[in-house]
């Protein structure tokens, strides 16, 4: 099998990509437009969250606190928007800053105080989950849900020219600012990681910390920056959950989306563009489960399990992919080395 992959690797890749495009087009044509729109909307937190996970992983830190940072963003967005008289934009900015702040604290605790990364992430998630509900009750007297008539939602933006394209228009236009921001973020993260010197430093730190240090890269600084940026993106993702659709905060409203975002980034091998499409798929599966809930008699609990099952399948696929890639690399190395050995003889 590895030989086969080795010789025809390129062709297989092209074939898979074409298959993917065909499936995507088929889905676009056959599925109702509302479903596609809602899946793009639902994919937004996954897109931003996976970018957050990806930047941290590229800098060599497995950021498992994304769930907590997203929840904090969702909470801060609503609270600040409420205090600012209902302006959603202020809330979104505040959520981004709050996520960044938590990311910075996380980075300092991990890098300076040397707290175990996983335990730290569990503590942060636990703290945010409890503190948000605590403040909801002590400051606003709200139980479980906080909504206020003064809170407005982010306005829908219709892109001027794209809007009028017959089929793609309604698909690409008519979302709020965070959706567009998430698309821009994907491009920006790609440019940052692969086209700038700083991005090269980030990747170097993630590949091999000691080697990066010996060539004079300030590893701690790079990781602090990556974690702060990761926190900002997670905060923005959270603000979409609370301000993007309904403008309210619900207890534990992230409901595991932060963890799914981490899986998305793993599945995409920490590549921004691949993560974008994976996130779209997860958005589609979530939208489909909601769609089926309203149109069929299937039990809601089982439908809600669909994205989770997709995630689990994705994890297994990721593992198989890694395994295959490893085998391929080993084969390549062996054949190359064998040739050199033969040459020497």
């Amino acid at each position: 099998m590895t030989d086969f992959l080795n010789i025809r690797g390129h062709r297989i890749q092209t074939g898979l990509m074409i298959t993917g495009i065909i499936i995507a087009v088929a889905l676009l044509v056959t599925l109702p437009i509302q479903l596609l729109q809602s899946s793009i909307r639902l994919a937004t937190p996954f897109i931003l969250g996976s970018m957050a996970a990806l930047i941290a992983s590229r800098a060599g830190v497995l950021n498992l606190a994304i769930e907590g940072k997203m929840l904090l963003g969702a909470f801060i967005a609503v609270v600040v928007a409420y205090l600012a008289g209902g302006d959603p934009a202020v809330g979104v900015i505040a959520a981004t800053l709050a996520g960044g702040g938590l990311g910075l604290i996380f980075a300092v605790l991990y890098l300076r105080i040397r707290v175990n990364l996983i335990v730290l992430a569990l503590a942060v998630n636990l703290f945010v989950a409890n503190a948000t509900v605590f403040f909801l009750r002590t400051l606003f007297g709200a139980y479980g849900t906080f909504a206020d008539p003064s809170l407005r939602i982010l306005p829908q933006i219709h892109l001027p020219i794209i809007q009028s394209i017959p089929f793609l228009g309604p698909l690409l236009s008519g979302y709020n600012i965070i959706v567009y921001l998430s698309w821009i973020t994907v491009a920006a993260v790609w440019v940052l990681l692969f086209r700038t010197q700083f991005g090269r430093h980030i990747r170097a730190v993630g590949e091999n910390k000691e080697a990066a240090e010996t060539v004079g890269i300030n590893v701690t600084q790079v990781q602090i920056f990556a974690l702060t940026l990761s926190g900002m993106l997670a905060g923005l993702a959270g603000s979409f959950l609370s301000m993007g659709v309904l403008s309210q905060f619900v207890e534990n409203m992230t409901a595991g989306r932060g963890w799914i975002a981490i899986t998305v980034s793993l599945f995409a091998f920490e590549r921004p563009v691949a993560a974008f499409f994976t996130a779209l798929f997860f958005g589609l599966s979530e939208a489909a489960s909601i769609h089926l809930q309203t149109t069929t008699e299937l039990p809601p609990d089982l439908l809600l399990a669909m994205p989770q099952l997709a995630t689990l399948a994705a994890l297994v696929l990721v593992a198989l992919r890694v395994r295959a890639a490893e085998l391929l690399k080993r084969r390549n190395f062996a054949s190359q080395f064998g040739q050199e050995l033969a040459n020497l003889r």
Partner: protein, 426 residues
């Protein structure tokens, strides 16, 4: 003091300091809620650990009680004063599943598997126990031609009382072990990150149980979906209805045989981890999987075995919670978070078996106490905030340790040099 004792004391000092620091830092939140922190903590600990009628820290130890008939006031030693029930009995009730899920986490951690799938294994174990708890007796009564369980022959009901709990708990353990085994297999064979896979498996289990309770296992049209209650023969009778029914200390708490099973499991886990070959193998595997393999240890098998044992313990916790406490599953049971609390207990106790029992009791009291704080205008989430800070401070151990050593070396008087003049200082 022997070296072993000093080591134990040093190990215990960090969690204790972390607990104190966590409580101190959390006062900020109490102050934000505009409540007197000292009184709040007094209430928290009284509701968590005190006797009925406790209202201050002092009452945790001694309390003045007025005799209802004679009106005479007498001083009593609080932990043993059980009139109208003691909160410590509730602590034991709540700590029982926590001890088991924490042991489950400890076994997995000690094999280097960071599994936090205890929640999923717990609820699935509970479902298995509740289903068999009413289904098997139904079949037996049907086969024996007994129309009403009340009129069952004495011999039959005695036998059923003996075997039903064993069957239910056994099934719960198998289900838990199977569910944990999925994550273990994926990790060992495919190197799938067990932390993420167990989180997803937890979510799946919660949804599956939600479905089962709302549809196939739903007993009646009660507004809150619930299953049938288990048969009386499968019930693990709590102390306050059974052997200790005259002791008021236990009244109101559904602590029972489950606690004894949990303690026995703790001893078993200690023996397994520190006194058996299999335990040695899995601890080696934790240190370094490759090193263990080169040393001739089947590290994959050891890791998988640890995951199976871990799952069985969590499933057992779920089974005991059903057979001893809940007796049926009500919608929302799956979100109780007992499994996740077990992970936190194991982390704070540094996976030490004895520590787990103590920390589980502490968490149980904190939990019970913070739930009752809600009447005093403090959300019960204060308990979660305190626990998060405790976990965080506990994890700062290395930082504190290195600083303490630094200060110690700095404070130590420098070694006497040649220039020093003896006698000049005296």
């Amino acid at each position: 003091m022997s070296k072993g004792w000093r080591q134990t004391l040093e190990n215990a000092s960090i969690p204790i300091l972390a607990i104190i620091a966590g409580l101190v830092v959390s006062t900020i939140f109490v102050l934000i809620a505009r409540v007197d922190p000292i009184q709040t903590y007094a209430n928290l600990f009284c509701e968590g650990f005190g006797p009925t009628g406790c209202s201050s820290f002092g009452n945790l130890l001694v309390m003045q009680v007025e005799d209802e008939e004679s009106g005479a006031v007498q001083t009593v030693f609080s932990p043993l004063y059980g009139a109208k029930g003691h909160k410590l009995a509730l602590v034991l009730e709540r700590a029982t599943p926590l001890i088991l899920t924490a042991l489950s986490a400890a076994v997995a951690f000690q094999a280097g598997m960071f599994s936090i799938g205890m929640d999923g294994q717990f609820v699935l174990g509970a479902v298995a126990a509740v289903f068999l708890g009413f289904w098997i007796p139904d079949q037996i009564y049907l086969a024996a031609g007994v129309a009403d369980p009340e009129t069952a022959p004495q011999a039959l009901s005695t036998i059923m009382h003996l075997i039903m709990p064993v069957i239910c708990l056994g099934a719960a353990m198998i289900v838990g072990a199977f569910y944990s085994g999925i994550a273990g297999y994926l990790k060992v064979k495919l190197n799938v990150n067990e932390l993420i896979s167990t989180i997803i498996l937890n979510a799946l289990a919660v949804q599956l149980v939600g479905y089962l309770i709302n549809f196939p296992l739903r007993a009646d049209m009660n507004s809150l979906a619930r299953t049938r209650a288990i048969d009386d023969t499968a019930w693990l009778v709590p102390f306050n209805r059974g052997i200790f029914q005259d002791i008021e200390w236990f009244s109101g708490a559904r602590v029972g045989v489950g606690l004894i099973i949990a303690i026995a499991a703790a001893i078993g886990v200690w023996f397994f981890l520190w006194r058996s070959t299999a335990g040695y193998e899995q601890r080696m595997t934790r240190g370094s999987r490759l090193f263990a393999r080169f040393g001739g240890i089947p590290s994959e098998r050891a890791a998988l075995r640890a995951m199976l044992i871990s799952g069985a313990l969590s499933g057992l916790a779920g089974g005991i919670q059903i057979l001893g406490v809940e007796r049926r599953i009500v919608d929302g049971f799956a979100l109780s978070g007992i499994g996740f609390d077990g992970v936190l207990v194991a982390i704070l106790a540094k996976e030490s078996v004895f520590g787990i029992i103590l920390v589980a009791a502490f968490f149980a009291g904190l939990d019970n106490g913070s739930v009752n704080l809600q009447f005093g205008n403090i959300p019960r989430q204060l308990g979660g905030i305190i626990i998060a800070f405790i976990i965080l401070f506990n994890a700062m151990e290395n930082f504190f340790r290195s600083n303490i050593t630094r200060i110690r070396t700095r404070l130590r008087p420098p070694a006497p040099t040649v220039e020093a003049q003896p006698g000049a200082t005296t």
